[in-house]
Point group: C2
Chain length 154, copies 2
């Protein structure tokens, strides 16, 4: 059953997912979209990088996070997509061999004034490894359909 | 010659790049990282999507933007990578067949107080198509090395 605007409650938390980060995928993403040596050269990265080892592009961590969100949340959501993302941060690098999971906290719901069949939901997304170390945090603002525009939407 | 913290001037603007968006790449990225039907199913997207056609994942637009930044700016930058990104927005969807370019405005420079050999630079990045239609805007905060930590860094 689709998740509508009404189905999300401010203060609720969902945690899910399991994404195995492989060196092959880190290299493939970086070679295509972020070919800086600390993302593409394992030997030089382990010798010279401030991270101490080959690290995934931050945009790759964001993309893996999106995959976890799509598989576990948006596949069922009555969503029109994201308006944008605030405060995207990478508190620690993501390394091959780690397993990522995601936590979503619902921060704020705003029914649209101009378009009563929808509303925006601000969440806080935290991506962490199997040891609970945070790798990415962000606050997406996503447009959801409302099941019943005649209600207040909450 | 590397671009150091000192080499960037608040108020300066750089524009560069040319990235051809192909349907094959839009589908490949979406199938791996953002498998929502409006990014993966060209027929259904052209019939049912609010965008009117198959559109790239917003994270794909961000990744293509990063490739333009790496090829044209960070390949020469004495950069330690991004601390984070504020106000990431997708004002219009990106479609196959478009050609993307990037404009970078230098907004603010902050020498590090704790680590005098570096400083952060806030920029505004705008990605647009060949007609000047904006596709992505964001404010990355990037850590640069300072050429000469004994100066004020400006």
């Amino acid at each position: 059953m689709p998740v509508y605007f009404e189905d999300l409650t401010v203060g609720e938390t969902q945690s899910f997912g399991s994404y195995d980060v492989t060196e092959a995928e880190v290299l493939a993403f970086a070679e295509e979209y972020d070919p800086q040596w600390f993302h593409t050269d394992p030997e030089r990265a382990s010798e010279e990088s401030a991270f101490g080892a080959l690290a995934a592009s931050g945009w790759h961590t964001a993309a893996m996070t999106m995959r976890l969100l799509v598989d576990n949340h948006f596949s069922e959501a009555a969503s029109y997509g994201a308006v944008g993302v605030d405060e995207l941060r990478w508190p620690n690098p993501t390394f091959p061999g780690e397993t990522l999971s995601v936590t979503v906290d619902v921060l704020e719901k705003t029914p649209s004034e101009s378009t009563p069949d929808r509303g925006t939901v601000r969440t806080r997304v935290t991506t962490e490894n199997e040891a609970g170390e945070p790798k990415l945090t962000m606050e997406p603002i996503v447009l959801y359909a409302r099941r019943d525009p005649s209600t207040g939407g909450n």
